[in-house]
């Protein structure tokens, strides 16, 4: 979950109140975030991914001051009329079709504010914009650029500018190959014939989204008083929402918001900070929460969460990205009401508990084996192909993981016995006999089974002993079984049996081949059984 670092002084000023640390901690946690740390003047909080609007000092303080009852209800932001225009070229349609833009003026930037702006941008990239996959944000100093701006796509080699943190001019391809940020995000433009760019009226390139801005025109500094902001990507709604979150935070920083005409075939004006209206059903909400709130109480609670309410309709601020259904108000109302104020109730509902029958069966099998002084083990279902085949001196088809993290764990197992021999290998320094069993899942194409594996390891472990265990188990389960001689490369020839129950082949039983024992470095004989319990059940 994303965390943000907040400047305590800035935060307190925005909230309009100082709170003792314990209280702050408690309230932050009851608002639905997590206070991770307070160190000096820095507060670290964890923000849930459904609230990207809280990923800044401004956004967090806005939500917090409402929740504390200091400044409740819908915040209104004015969007000033202006003549700024961004032309959308047809070439971006199949590359990166949408952008939403705005201008913010009257920013008195300093080091602290620049840090805050960079943080908002970074956190939104990671969360709402899914690590730039859904969109990317560019912020440019107005002093350096000239409107109107073009949003278009060009061949990579035709794109030439000096990217941020680079000493020289590079072309589009070079940026992806040579620049560290370029390399990191190169996959986002992979396979594209054209790369998108923003370019100003002087034909100066501002940026190549979602990769990097220009050093010359795309870097804000303490001298910057006005900025142009664009968010570009694949779904217009996401870009708009992201823009709203940024401009409202900048407005809370003291800036004024100015509209931009984005000229698609049908031009639109962004940002649009009008609240959206949602119908809510007070009865439904009360039912879901188990409360009896009056309309007036509900209005107060909604206002504590930064909404307005009037006549069955909630006004939702333009920066909220998480309202999808009226249940989303339910949670906000519950938060405003206070989770600590709900009295837990056990409803008077009668249901009958029931354990799964196969689970019962497996438990009984384990109990029978424990009665024979066997020790139960727990093993991973993910293992490696070497252990499953080569070390066992046998061939078997396995299901590989597409994205395994290590060589040691790269397939789903097809049998359990290899794990048991591995356990013996790892426990050679302890006393013998080592008589072990496990019940674990095995995977074959379209089938999953639970299997029992038993190993008896001692200087005199042999076929008779393992067959005695099988025989006892079958008698206790009241099952008739038959063992017929078979061959299996992991076992000693002439001492390997196939076990049949009710006409189904359910198990291999035998003495493990000394070649296999050697592979595991085992010095004592092992008599083993692998029984398919799913088939037996």
């Amino acid at each position: 979950m994303p965390t943000v670092k907040l400047n305590k002084t800035v935060f307190e000023k925005l909230v309009g109140k100082k709170l003792p640390i314990e209280k702050l901690k408690d309230r932050i946690s009851m608002l639905g975030t997590d206070l991770e740390d307070i160190e000096g003047n820095e507060i670290t909080v964890e923000i849930f991914p459904n609230r990207p609007d809280m990923l800044s000092e401004q956004g967090f303080a806005r939500a917090f001051s409402s929740f504390m009852g200091i400044k409740t209800g819908l915040r209104k932001y004015k969007v000033n009329k202006s003549k700024y225009e961004v032309n959308i070229d047809k070439s971006v349609k199949d590359i990166r079709p949408y952008t939403a833009c705005a201008v913010v003026k009257n920013l008195k930037l300093n080091d602290e504010k620049i840090r805050e702006i960079i943080q908002i941008q970074e956190k939104l990239h990671v969360t709402l914009l899914r690590n730039r996959k859904k969109g990317a944000i560019g912020i440019y100093p107005m002093e350096e650029i000239k409107f109107p701006i073009d949003y278009l796509a060009l061949k990579p080699r035709e794109i030439k500018f000096q990217p941020l943190e680079s000493k020289k001019e590079l072309n589009g391809l070079q940026i992806l190959q040579q620049h560290p940020t370029g390399r990191e995000y190169a996959y986002l433009l992979e396979g594209k014939k054209l790369y998108p760019i923003f370019r100003d009226a002087n034909k100066e390139i501002l940026s190549m989204p979602p990769i990097i801005n220009s050093e010359k025109t795309g870097k804000v500094s303490e001298k910057t008083k006005e900025v142009f902001i664009e968010v570009s990507g694949f779904e217009l709604e996401t870009q708009k929402k992201c823009l709203n979150i940024i401009v409202t935070a900048l407005a809370d920083m003291g800036g004024t918001i100015h509209e931009t005409k984005v000229k698609y075939e049908k031009p639109i004006i962004t940002p649009n900070l009008e609240a959206t209206k949602w119908d809510i059903d007070i009865k439904y909400i009360n039912q879901r929460l188990g409360l009896n709130l009056t309309e007036k109480q509900m209005k107060t609670l909604l206002e504590k969460m930064g909404f307005d309410y009037e006549k069955g309709k909630v006004s939702v601020p333009a920066y909220r990205a998480d309202i999808m259904h009226q249940v989303d108000f339910i949670e906000d109302i519950a938060i405003a009401y206070g989770y600590e104020n709900f009295s837990p109730e056990i409803p008077n509902v009668s249901t009958i508990g029931k354990e799964d029958e196969f689970e019962i069966f497996k438990r009984k099998v384990s109990e029978i084996l424990v009665g024979l002084q066997l020790l139960e083990c727990e093993t991973y279902n993910i293992t490696n192909d070497q252990l499953q085949t080569k070390k066992m001196d046998c061939k078997i088809s396995l299901i590989p993981l597409e994205n395994s993290v290590s060589q040691e764990y790269n397939v789903l197992r097809a049998w359990v016995l290899p794990n048991m021999l591995q356990i013996l290998e790892e426990n050679k320094h302890y006393d013998y006999p080592q008589n072990l069993f496990t019940i674990g899942r095995v995977f074959k194409t379209n089938i999953e089974n639970d299997r029992l594996a038993i190993v008896l390891c001692d200087s005199n472990a042999n076929f008779t002993k393992i067959k005695q265990v099988l025989d006892y188990l079958m008698r206790m389960l009241d099952l008739k079984y038959k063992v017929t001689s078979t061959k299996h490369s992991s076992f000693i020839e002439g001492r390997t049996g196939r076990v049949t129950v009710k006409g189904k082949e359910v198990a291999y039983i035998g003495e493990v081949n000394p070649k296999v024992l050697k592979n595991f470095g085992l010095e004592f004989p092992v008599a083993a059984l692998e029984l398919n319990l799913s088939e037996l059940f």
């Binding site: 608002l31 899914r130 188990g290 999808m324 508990g353 139960e376 194409t445």
Partner: protein, 489 residues
């Protein structure tokens, strides 16, 4: 006193009459004609009974050397020469080397005179000091008398007669009880082991059984045993069953449809990334078209009052097979197959889940999760908190508090913390919420409240067994498996 006498082991009985203050274990071994280990065992037992104290000391002990042992029976060369005298030098039978030594020794003492013959000048009246001394060995250097010291110094100069060694000596110091014991008459006709023959013949009648020391430690034995993760899991199941829940089981390897899409997890949600979830290079068939379409609709433009995620839902993504990241795939399947006539219903699951993670002390790619769902048209948020409180209490955590939380498929969501009395702090215990209508409506056909919650089960196990490294859950160290305490809840 009588109780002690009755509890004496036969070995102890043999040793007691031989005991006296200052006697060493070596002396006792010689006197009792027992093996040293047997004597030591008896002494140990007597020490446990507080009859004596065994004092361990390092002592310098003089032993006979190779030649010393020989001369002990044959006599020293000087003694043997003396017996032959007077005699001509050439007639003496003594080997040359010994003869020289013997002459030297005897001359030094002024006993003989050398001429044509070796003659005795002064016949010694008694044994030489050296001879006497050799007979007393082994001896501790510290305890030598002045004359013995003189003899010792002399012998030391001669080759291989004596040698000194640093030895551990166990000396017995009797306590008052021990002193009394040595004076007691100790019966020897007590019964040791009761044999089948004695039972049959009544030979035990009128006799006494030796009393055992019931407090003594015994060698450890080990039993067959369930794995501690399994015993803990079974406890977890019992809690659900007691609360009236029915168990769900099902595939570990499942389609993204059941693991994610049916739970309204957007297709671009990071949990579906390769870094987080294990994918298998195969696809599953999707369930019946009607259900798939409803799920698609819920994602794209929403269903029943929802506006959805507003993106294009891709059937291909839903078909991809993954190792389940939670047991909620079973909850989704259960809801889809539920006969509405059976509502209200409660279900639970407990099983292995997977996430793409490198193994280290606090990360593991396979873990156990348990979760429960309640499908009840009248269920509300207070009920959810009620169930959670009850569940935590049964799991052994009487103090619970609730905080807001966020999960993609529940609204409202809640995190339950339990109070850890040992570390005096709140710890995250359980994730819970009410399934979103976007989940419930496609699966169940209508917007009925479905309460859901699940704790990370491994955390309960590791904290109950005070395990610090999560890998120990699957380490299968036989010693640890044998010695782990039984799950007692």
């Amino acid at each position: 006193m009588q109780d002690i006498i009755k509890s004496l082991h036969p070995l102890e009985r043999e040793i007691i009459p031989l005991l006296k203050d200052g006697i060493t274990s070596i002396e006792l071994t010689i006197k009792s004609k027992r093996k040293e280990v047997e004597v030591m065992r008896a002494l140990q037992w007597l020490e446990n009974k507080k009859a004596l104290k065994i004092k361990l000391e390092l002592k310098e002990i003089i032993h006979l050397g190779e030649l010393g042992k020989k001369y002990k029976t044959k006599g020293l060369p000087e003694r043997r020469l003396l017996k032959e005298l007077p005699k001509a030098m050439k007639d003496v039978k003594l080997p040359k080397a010994e003869l020289n030594i013997a002459i030297g020794e005897l001359k030094k003492r002024g006993i003989i005179e050398l001429g044509k013959q070796i003659k005795i000048k002064n016949k010694p009246k008694e044994e030489f000091l050296e001879e006497k001394f050799l007979k007393t060995l082994p001896r501790e250097i510290k305890n030598l008398q002045a004359q013995e010291k003189h003899a010792y110094e002399n012998l030391k100069k001669r080759k291989d007669l004596i040698e000194t060694k640093l030895e551990k000596i166990r000396t017995i110091e009797l306590t008052t009880l021990g002193k009394k014991l040595t004076k007691q008459k100790i019966k020897t006709n007590m019964i040791e082991a009761l044999t089948p023959k004695m039972i049959k013949s009544n030979a035990w009648k009128g006799k006494e059984f030796r009393h055992y020391d019931v407090e003594i430690n015994v060698p450890k034995i080990q039993g067959g045993k369930r794995h501690f993760v399994k015993t803990a899991s079974e406890y977890g199941k019992k809690v659900w069953l007691e609360m009236g829940f029915e168990e769900m089981t099902g595939p570990h390897l499942d389609s993204s449809f059941w693991v994610f899409d049916a739970l309204f997890t957007a297709q671009d949600h990071p949990v579906r990334d390769l870094q987080d979830t294990f994918y298998i290079k195969s696809n599953s068939k999707l369930p019946k078209k009607e259900l798939v379409n409803k799920v698609k609709q819920a994602h794209e433009n929403g269903i029943k009052g929802s506006k959805g995620w507003q993106y294009k839902w891709d059937e291909k993504e839903a078909k991809k097979n993954v190792l389940r990241t939670h047991t909620t795939n079973l909850s989704a399947r259960t809801l889809a197959n539920l006969d509405k006539k059976d509502i209200p219903k409660k279900f639970f699951s407990l099983g292995r889940c997977y996430r793409n993670e490198s193994l280290d002390w606090c990360h593991i790619f396979e873990f156990n999760q348990t979760e429960g769902i309640v499908i009840d048209p009248n269920a509300n948020f207070k009920h959810l908190l009620g169930y959670l409180t009850q569940f935590a209490k049964k799991m052994g955590f009487p103090k619970v508090r609730f905080r807001p939380a966020h999960f993609p498929y529940t609204e409202p969501s809640v995190e339950g913390d339990v109070y850890d009395p040992i570390h005096k702090k709140w710890v995250e215990f359980i994730a819970a919420g009410v399934f979103r209508p976007e989940v419930v409506v496609p699966l169940l056909g209508e917007d009925i409240p479905v309460l859901a919650w699940g704790p990370g089960f491994d955390r309960i196990i590791t904290s109950a067994y005070k395990i610090k490294d999560i890998r120990e859950l699957y380490k299968n160290d036989i010693k640890q498996l044998k010695e782990t305490k039984h799950w007692m809840r």
